[in-house]
Amino acid sequence: MHGLRAFTLFEVAIALAIVAMGVVSVLLFLPAGIRAQQVSRFRLYASAKAMDLVESYNTSSNGNPSIDVEAFNPWDVPTNYRSTAPDLECRLASRRFGVAPLPLTIARRIDSDGGEIASILDDGGCIYFSQPQATTSWEESQLPKMPPNDVQKVVFAVVGNAQQDALFTFPWKAWPYTDAYPSPPIFQHHQDAFVDETGGALAELGATFGCYERAFRTYLWEETSDPDIRCVFQHPWPSTPALDENYGYFPYAYPASPYALPAPGTDGGTCPTGLTVAGATRYVQAALWYCAAKNLGAGFVDIATPLTDFVGAPAEDERWKQVQAMRFLAHAATCLTRWYDKATLDGGVVIAPVTWDAPSSGAPVTSPSVTWTHATITALHESCLALNALYASADPYDWGAPRNVQRAIMMDYPLLQHDLFSPPLSGPVSGAPAITAEQWRPIAPRPITNLGASMSYPRIAMPAATWGDRSHFNLCAPFDASQRCRQLVFWVVDWQAYEDFEIAPSAPVDASKYPKAAPLTDGAGGFRGFASLMDGFPWLDMHIYSYRNAESVFSYTEDVSMLPTGTDIDAKRVLNNGRWGWTPDAGSSPPARAVFNGEHGADRNFNGLLDRGPMPTTARMRALTVARFNYYDLRVPFALR
């Protein structure tokens, strides 16, 4: 019989060690469940943010109405660069749409699977974070403080190459120009005199009068496309001292001679007195004369029923003449209703002919004599709208007459793009002539007819050799879905744990984000220097959505790095300043440039306090990939309604 033998102590110890290992192993698995839930949480955040981004990308306004958009060299206006590209990260990385690049110094400390973040940064891309709340376009500085959330731990990037985009605007001439129909010839306010290619101020093209506190000059832009339009605006020119010898729109609507400057501060709605029926009649005569100068006779100017088509089937690139003639004629005709009542008009109002030499040809032209009634005036008005609708609907590539602002549609916009396969244009930068800039040449799918001159630089024509090779135009080319697919990648990383997360400088700001003025004369025969152009116009915070540092709303206006953690820095942020007064990030001074570039950091959690995290800047973090979403990449500036 064998004796019973218990486990030895050694065996028991081994057994216990094995049991302990098993228990520990099980315990190690338990946090994985928590981690899975945390990742699930961040996936929720990422999906909400992706929807938010794509919704905002497609529906937010893409206008920047306070920007200079015309120059005689395309590199002298801040359009058609990254700031106005219809790419998601360009549209939304804006202080108004709540997305900003992560400071580069922080982004470089973050590792990710496959080195994806480093690869994006190496390629010149950015990692983005977003404001704590969705984009609403409400005034950020007046929003209630948000409860804390960790949505900002979700960072993202856009991967996949953006396609080549359409031009945001045509930099030589920001077409389409729009005007009310009917209307008088377009005359343009400009703060400074128009310049020639050298920067020298030219003789004024029209009248000068005041507006608010400045003496803006006013120019008759439309005579640059057709010198006969001068006679609709003012005949003779220069004006004669006797008012009753002056014809056209301007002597009627502004009947002072010589045209006097209203007192500074005069409200633009207050006009000189002295309107007369005779003045209105002379305006009508001028408009009728213009019709005659365009060979438009009684079947055009003396009608009882509205025109529904062009008279005499003109060539497509000649239609603008009838559009313009009817626009002026209907406007002038309607002025008569201020002076004649319907009963008088129904009896017929006779307009006598006038004979002047046409500026375009030098030949004498006699306007027709007409007898107009109320029915004629309403027929002219209707014809004006009908001819414009026909003209504008038929061809966005004829720029002979402005589009109708009352019926602005997306089809008014010509499709233009850069030619990436022809040698670029090059030339000096305005204000810094020692520096040579380059830009791709523009191309359109078909020739632009009646290109004309721009309102901003009417005396500087676009060089004939500017255009690229039309065969390279591809905006209308067929495409595969995959060619327009880009991807949003989301990671989660607690980057706000870094001690410098609010004092690290902003990521480098694309130069086109600076709303620089177009070339301006220095008043001494040359152009203003570059620094002066940086202060060229007031920064209207509410009208320059795509410009300035994406962090500018919450970026600091001074160095706060020496302040203790928790300091109230509410008053040290740019916020929505930048209307008419204090604009801390505008100008060429070193302090302004530092603020523009976000060198002092930013209140990145937007809580109004200076925060520092516990992590030293020497530590690295690892970002966890939480989600990827594909989306459609636009090529054309566009906003869904």
Binding site: N58, T337, R338, K342
Partner: protein
């Protein structure tokens, strides 16, 4: 055979080992329980946040907080002010805007004297449809001496009227184009500003001419209703003043001319007002007024004066699970629909409050869904 007991040292070691095993097991179980509890809590919270997000997206699309087609007690925005003859965003058009001049069977013949909403007409798309062309004098501000003539004779709310003005009278005229002004006025009266803008095309210009009036309802000398051009205009006979907003036109440099949505809307918002705690007491009179009002939410706005009252009255805050277990977080879903910088913004918020710590966190996002017009069509509210 003699049996040998454990020695004292063996017992002590065995006891120590046993104790270690018990403590390890206890710690392990405790950690496991806590981990499971935390994971479950996170899972519950995630599930509720996810449900909140889905509820928000669904609400953006379905509009049931604003108008519940299955519950007549939750149809506050269907009311109609018979005295003013004004509706709310969900008022049936057969109540607020009686059609005339066309029938549902006739959707191809468009006449100037058609009245009411005809959903079959692609009127914003057809360049040849002359009745959709806006006619007016863009250069004309609130103050005018009529130097550019009388545009009231081309297009007007009235088909026939005596055109008069302090600048001089013109006489009795028959106006050729009345459809577009009546569409604008009809939508304004039937739906309020948000609804009117929702139904009008994106390039609409807001304003029209009507018979001159030197008293309420005021017009300019050129007969443009002051509602469209005067920022502090009192359309409501002296009771205009909403507690934090103005009427249709904002004070954009006091430009005071008829214009399109961008310049009307970059400094302020047009919104809808679903039931909230802050507006629970609003009667139909106040609802009518608040839906004909824009609120300052852009530059020049003030947090306390403008933004907070606006958010309180325009943003819902509904509990996702009103009767929840006490261990669950309190989750609220909020929606605010407004138009700002011509964007129809559906701001969604999911807010959750921990039952343990009381801490609140929030996720906000914008949603894309059915328009007001779509929601109304879904409910059959546009049927004549």
């Amino acid at each position: 055979m003699p049996e040998r007991a454990f020695t004292l040292i063996e017992v002590m070691i065995a006891s120590a080992l046993g104790l270690t095993v018990c403590l390890t097991a206890f710690a392990g179980l405790r950690a496991a329980a806590q981990s499971v509890s935390l994971a479950e809590r996170l899972a519950t919270e995630n599930a509720l946040i996810r449900a909140g997000m889905n509820a928000a997206y669904h609400e953006v699309d379905a509009w049931r907080t604003y108008d519940d087609p299955a519950d007549a007690t939750r149809q506050r925005l269907r009311q109609y002010d018979a005295t003013r003859r004004m509706g709310l965003p969900f008022t049936p058009l057969k109540t607020s805007w009686t059609p005339s001049g066309w029938s549902s069977a006739d959707r191809t013949t468009w006449d100037e004297d058609d009245r009411g909403w005809n959903s079959g007409e692609a009127w914003s798309m057809d360049a040849t449809n002359a009745r959709t062309w806006w006619r007016g004098n863009h250069a004309e501000r609130l103050r005018t001496d009529l130097r550019y003539g009388r545009y009231a004779i081309f297009s007007n709310l009235e088909p026939s009227l005596n055109v008069v003005s302090p600048a001089g009278d013109y006489g009795q005229v028959d106006v050729a184009h009345t459809w577009l002004p009546n569409q604008l006025a009809g939508l304004r009266d039937a739906l309020g500003y948000y609804g009117m803008i929702d139904y009008m095309p994106a390039n609409a210009i807001y304003g029209f001419y009507q018979a001159y009036s030197g008293a309420y309802p005021w017009t300019s000398w050129s007969s443009v209703s002051c509602e469209w051009v005067q920022p502090d205009y009192d359309w409501d006979w002296g009771t205009r003043r909403s507690y934090n907003g103005d009427t249709f036109s904002n004070n954009d440099g006091y430009t005071c001319h008829m214009r399109s949505l961008y310049s009307l809307n970059y400094a302020s918002s047009y919104a809808l007002y679903p039931p909230t705690a802050a507006n629970a007491g609003w009667d139909v009179d106040l609802l009518v007024r608040e839906h004909r009002c824009q609120k300052y939410t852009g530059y020049g706005s003030d947090r306390d004066r403008d933004m907070l009252p606006f958010i309180a009255t325009a943003m819902t805050a509904d509990a996702l699970v009103p009767l929840k277990p006490t261990a669950w977080p309190q989750v609220k879903v909020s929606i605010c629909r407004s138009i700002k910088i011509r964007r129809f913004n559906n701001l969604c918020k999911v807010t959750w409050t921990s039952p343990i710590t009381g801490d609140t966190a929030e996720l906000s996002f914008s949603g894309f869904g059915t328009t007001l017009r779509g929601a109304r069509q879904d409910r059959g509210l546009d049927l004549p």
